[in-house]
């Protein structure tokens, strides 16, 4: 059986599934329930500086995007960092770590962007015996208006500066949590690395308004008729997170920097995808907030069974295996030709492939053949775009079949067996001339 145990920055946990810093990790009661359910670690809900704690709104904090059966596809929140006194959190963290020594316990921290503030809190956090710290540079709402959270995360120089302070004032591993509300995720990642971070974690939530109430014209969640942008998370954000993880994993400057993957992880498969893109572990929030802590049991069994089926003994065996396959568009093989092929036995004749292709693509699928409703690919027109596969409601009914030889009926050009990309393409004015 596969060994799911995780060693991230020397922090050991029985599995790579951590709960992200968020409402589920706000106090000992929840965290202990999570550990009992099987979570490998938690990142405690973000601690603020000493003094009167932050206050939260007393109206709705969450908004959601639902599927037709009320499946929660995306969640947004306007909750701030912990609103409990610092000493209470630190005391509970100490107790929990003592009680659960085999689980990872990370302290998430957000204090003002001043050296003294970080210098003051770090020793106190260290005293709890926790395994590391995560710098919350991502929270996009509320705290950012006060110069913290995403306000730091959006300025690479600040990131580097704060990370440097943290490395200076604590021996604990430092994980820098990045905001996706930025144009190029590689910049803050590089800054964190320059500052000496041990790892980055991403993504934090995305600036969002989930909906507008058309009766009151107030954004949701609405606090007395008004709303503010909140942080978007859940299954909907996973593709954005995967890309940002991949960008960091393959960037020349940050390659090899440990990554804790976050963003819409709901099942073992999502987790495996993040790990395949280089993540050393993953953090989960929305899935737990939707279904409770028990979801980790499916993630553990699913990942383990999949690893067994592929012969992977440990997380390290497949970690990063997808990274080399992520490349720039210019390096994609332009000689690779596929044609859609419809399995007529599986086709239920809904016609979605036809109308999608006819109205919005390349007019490459019939709707009628010899007076009979029939959907068939016209190879002379098919550019292999895959839209029909995506809109087809039947799994495996339409396949993209590579052309390995012969003549492409669309271009009338012979299929080239060799790899060739844009950099050498004759239509590219910048094309590199092949060596004579």
């Amino acid at each position: 059986m596969a060994d799911l145990s995780s060693n991230f920055l020397g922090i050991k946990s029985p599995n790579p599934f951590w709960l992200a810093s968020a409402p589920p990790t706000d106090k000992a009661y929840n965290v202990e329930r999570a550990f009992k359910a099987g979570w490998g670690g938690v990142v405690w809900k973000t601690l603020g500086e000493e003094g009167p704690p932050v206050v939260n709104v007393n109206g709705p904090r969450y908004g959601a995007i639902h599927g037709p059966d009320r499946r929660l596809l995306g969640l947004n929140n306007i909750e701030l960092i912990t609103d409990r006194p610092l000493e209470v959190n630190l005391r509970e963290m100490t107790e929990v770590k003592k009680k659960w020594p085999d689980r990872a316990l990370i302290a998430s921290i957000m204090v003002p962007c001043e050296e003294e503030a970080w210098k003051a809190i770090l020793p106190r956090v260290e005293e709890t015996g926790c395994d590391g710290i995560e710098l919350n540079f991502g929270c996009p709402h509320g705290m950012s208006e006060r110069g913290m959270g995403a306000a730091v995360g959006q300025v690479p120089e600040y990131i580097e500066m704060v990370v440097r302070w943290c490395k200076q004032y604590t021996r604990m591993p430092v994980i820098t949590k990045l905001t996706p509300n930025i144009t190029d995720i590689r910049k803050p990642a590089r800054a964190a690395k320059s500052g000496g971070t041990d790892a980055v974690s991403l993504i934090n939530t995305i600036n969002s308004i989930v909906s507008v109430d058309l009766d009151t014209f107030a954004p949701n969640p609405s606090i007395d008729g008004r709303g503010s942008h909140g942080g978007y998370c859940g299954p909907a954000v996973k593709p954005i997170a995967l890309n940002m993880v991949a960008e960091i994993a393959r960037d020349a400057e940050t390659r090899g920097l440990p990554i804790s993957g976050i963003g819409g992880i709901t099942t073992w498969r999502d987790a495996a995808e993040f790990i395949a893109l280089g993540c050393g572990n993953v953090q989960v929030c929305t899935a737990a907030m939707t279904y409770g802590f028990k979801v980790v049991q499916e993630m553990i069994s699913g990942l383990s069974d999949w690893m067994d089926s592929r012969g992977f003994r440990s997380i390290e065996d497949f970690r990063g295996m997808a990274v080399p396959n992520v490349t720039d568009w210019q390096y994609l093989n332009l000689n690779y030709i596929t044609k859609a092929q419809i399995d007529q036995d599986l086709c239920i004749k809904c016609g979605r492939c036809h109308i999608a292709c006819e109205d919005t693509s390349h007019q490459a699928i019939t709707s009628m053949v010899d007076g009979v409703r029939h959907f068939e690919v016209i190879d002379e027109e098919c550019v292999g775009c895959n839209l029909c596969v995506n809109v087809c409601p039947v799994e495996n009914c339409i396949d993209m079949v590579p052309m390995l030889s012969g003549v492409d009926p669309r271009t009338k050009m012979p299929v080239q067996p060799d790899y060739a990309n844009w950099t050498t393409h004759p239509n590219n004015p910048m094309a590199k001339v092949a060596a004579e």
Partner: protein, 485 residues
Amino acid sequence: MGSMDSGIRDVRAGRLTSSDYTDVFSDLHPPLSRHEAFVESDRCYFCYDAPCMNACPTGIDIPLFIREIAADNPTGSAKTILSENILGGMCARVCPTETLCEQACVREAAEGKPVKIGLLQRYATDYLMENGQHPFTRAAPTGKSVAVVGAGPAGLSAAHRLAMYGHDVTIFEARPKAGGLNEYGIAAYKSVDDFAQKELDFILEIGGITIQNDKALGRDISLDALRAGFDAVFLGLGLPGVNELGLDGEDAAGCIDAVDYISVLRQSNDLSQIAVGRDVVVIGGGMTAIDVAVQTKLLGAENVIIAYRRGPESMNASEFEQELALKNGVIIRHWLQPRALTRNERGEVCGITLDYTIMNDGRLETSGESVTLASDQIFKAIGQMPAEKILSDAGMALSRGRISVDEEHRTSIPGIWAGGDCIAGGQDLTVAGVQDGKLAAESIHRALSMQPEKVSGFAEAVIAGNSEPASTSAQHTANPGHISG
């Protein structure tokens, strides 16, 4: 099963306890809740050139109305439905969707579970009828008048569309209430809460429609008078007669027209007053046979047997309807054909002898064996008959007793259109009648739009009951039929 031996028929009202009558005919398919409608509508694939739409006799844009439900616009959804089928509410309840749209649904092919199109249609139309206003506006009056004979689905459909175009419509209905089979014929569990009358009221909201009840063609009004008094006539007569078994004694007590019985049942305010036999035999294989069998069973009959002379695949009742009967404890016996009725000392029918039948070279024959079933009530449900005599007397071309019409639903008599069960080649379905009425109305409107003005006053004369207004022909030089070609 002692009734035949003793000859004493056990026919009683009030077989159920009084509380059981409250929900004995509860909704066959309870309506979808809002959430259920969202979930179900999400199952629709919004097919290209959707097969369901092509299977709908009225051509409702089903994918569009379902998408409108999914997008939380039930009002728009209902408008999409009603613009093609003004009786979309009733059709949502009574259409044999399992042989129409839902049979064609690609999810039926894919997984044997079609989108519940009928229930979604009901969700949208119920919503509009409960919350909205009549969604159509009547055009400015054209000054043209149209007589519609029969206030069933075909007649109401024609009337609504004609009224919408600004024509004045007068409906002549033989029965005391409008609605036709929707009001008198459909099984009680398919249309609860007086829906037929609610839908009628909804249709009439368009304005410009007058209904004259208790006015039967051939009894109170004549075709000639209608032709004379109106710019156009639409016949939606239905099938007023019932086919006979052709057996001695079928007029005696104990042998009942299923259609009449259902009509009495539907009009009853107190089901505990409806007499039901202990042993019931239904002769026939169509929807009416199922309807009467299930309803008598629900009203407390102990043994209900449907006897049908051919196999299950030949039954006009859909597979779903047959299963509905079986589910309710009705026994369906195939390959049995009535031979003779058994009568008791009082002359009442108390049993029936049926011959076993076999198929021999495509011909139905009796096998020589027979069976006798005891019965307290025998229901005849072997089809209905057109009003053949009135029509043939008027010189109208008929086909096997039903009115021959062209693709525009014009009869052989200029100025007269027809639709619904009374025309030849129809499907005998509510939804088909609605389509007939709609198509005929379009044709009438085209004809009337080109017609010169006509002398007024004759419509009023006919409505007033003067079926032979004076000097009719002399004043009517512009019969609509003359321009219909």
